[in-house]
Symmetry: C2
Subunit: 295 residues, 2 copies
DNA sequence: ACACTTGTTTCATTATTTGAACCATATATT
DNA sequence: AATATATGGTTCAAATAATGAAACAAGTGT
């Protein structure tokens, strides 16, 4: 597509992008200001989105102060988006087993554009625990699972992320591009990532890639309070469980090749093929690849 | 709005509605057939949705068989929709406490159009349990929480639901309109609902309304295997816990009035006002009302 | 009482959407 | 092999649908 057509629906959808964790509703005036569209246009578009169910409207009787917010239809659609990442529940099942064996919070994280999104989350059974909400967005450079995804993103993405503003969420967030490059290389070499307190203090995360016949589709991760991950014996156990689970899922998704999943060249390739990825003969539909928009 | 304008964005969004629990991806031809739009138009619209991130595309190198599926952006937006139902986590916290005290699955269900949607779900800690997925849609006439919502819907909705096809998911699904009317009256009289195996055999559900200053905003429910709910002693305990939790949440949301929440007329109204609902002086934003699209 | 903001409608102008036809390519059928 | 029939993708004149300035109505703050 050339010149990026004007696109009426694009404008409408841009309105959906105005919502945020900290802005759960907007007024027409706010929306018009934020998008630069005239009020009348904004009004009509918002109204159409309400009619379609993507937005809900709360009109204070007659007067001003009518506000628009994300509609329940989006919740339904979001569910379908999550399901299409794991239509057969293979990932989900493995995550629950992993949770039961480790007692930690388990996440399945995928890359979406230049960010990461927590697609599936399985909280531990412990009464007090971290809660990572599904559907939440996170930067690709901070945290084990997200950085692990970054390690296998196209160079263009890596560059954009490393050039973009690198916010230090805590004193332990790595923000030096050179350092991050080294961490990415390490991840590609070992097929594994760990982080301490990069997004939230006193927490830790451990991640391994989930791979299908075509490449990395997401990251499986354990997260919890820092202490357990500092203990070498416990950490080794968690790592073994995590890698085993990630491998199991990957194999079921059609991956054939060495494990841990490492950068081609770091180890001898499996056999005839050039890379570590087999053809994925598995007849099943490549829904996961479709869901993450892999070309 | 008169004559229901044609609406370009409406058509685009209609494409999103083609997805389903059993249809997680579509081709251009399928979409064109399902919507009745010409292929060229369908193609352009789908492509715009992909550009906006609401859809993901998987193009098999060059040839045919490109398929579109719900995009991760929808997952993010869905999260925001869920959050705007409970911006301060009041409901969620109460649900987790209820789960811990009852050991059952806890749901917060809201009405959306002529259906119900599971907005929040908190699974029990037991290794084997029912799992009701968030974002799932359910009919309003079957099941305790959904029927409880129906009990306080406008008459127009009730009529549409009762006239519409009433599918019997199990032999215990109530499908007689007269019987359903009686059940609804009972719910309005007692402020409480229970069901046995109406959607899935050998399961039961128990529900109570969540009310704010303006009216019923959702249903809080317990669900699990039938046995516990058949035992009178256990069932009484569960009911007490559920009603207490629903009342607590309702009070925090600004409800003032008698409890259980019953139809005006069944009991004496609180005081000066006509109905059971107070003005909800609570300064907090009425985000919940906004989220469910209450006028 | 005044100025200001907000939601909503109108309407002539304009530009975007439209959709039949067409192309290229891959699979199924003969 | 050759043909037929799908598919995804593109083109272009016609016309439809989006546009936005202005005006209206109704509320709020000063």
């Amino acid at each position: 597509m050339r010149g990026e057509g004007p696109g009426t629906v694009g404008k409408a959808i841009a309105l959906l992008g105005l919502f945020d964790e900290s802005r759960l509703s907007i007024s027409i005036a706010e929306a018009a200001l934020a998008t630069g569209m005239p009020r009348a246009t904004t009004y009509r578009l918002l109204e159409q989105l309400v009619a379609a169910g993507l937005l809900t409207k709360r009109g204070v009787d007659g007067g001003r102060a009518t506000r628009y917010g994300p509609g329940l239809r989006l919740l339904e659609l979001g569910r379908l988006a999550a399901r299409s990442l794991d239509p057969d529940g293979v990932i989900r099942e493995a995550m629950e087993r992993l949770r039961d064996r480790c007692g930690e919070s388990v996440q399945f994280v995928v890359a979406s554009g230049d960010a990461a999104i927590y697609a599936h989350v399985v909280p531990p059974r412990a009464p007090i625990h971290l809660y990572v909400g599904w559907g939440r967005r996170a930067p690709l450079y901070a945290g084990a699972s997200t950085r692990l995804l970054l390690a296998w993103q196209p160079e263009a993405v890596v560059r954009r992320v490393l050039e973009g503003p690198l916010v230090a969420y805590t004193p332990h967030t790595p923000t030096d591009p050179g350092h991050l490059r080294a961490l990415l290389a390490e991840i590609r070499r070992t097929g594994y990532a760990i982080s301490f307190g990069e997004l939230v203090e006193h927490t830790a995360e451990m991640a391994a890639p989930v791979v299908d016949g075509q490449g990395v589709v997401g990251a499986l991760s354990l997260a919890g309070f820092e202490e357990r991950y500092r203990d070498p014996a416990i950490a080794a156990g968690l790592k073994a469980e995590l890698l085993a689970a990630a491998e199991e899922v990957s194999r079921r998704l059609g991956y054939r090749g060495p494990w841990p999943y490492v950068e081609p060249g770091s180890v001898a390739p499996p056999e005839g093929r050039g890379g570590p990825a087999g053809a994925g003969e598995e007849g099943g539909s490549d829904a996961l690849g479709a869901a993450i928009g892999r070309p």
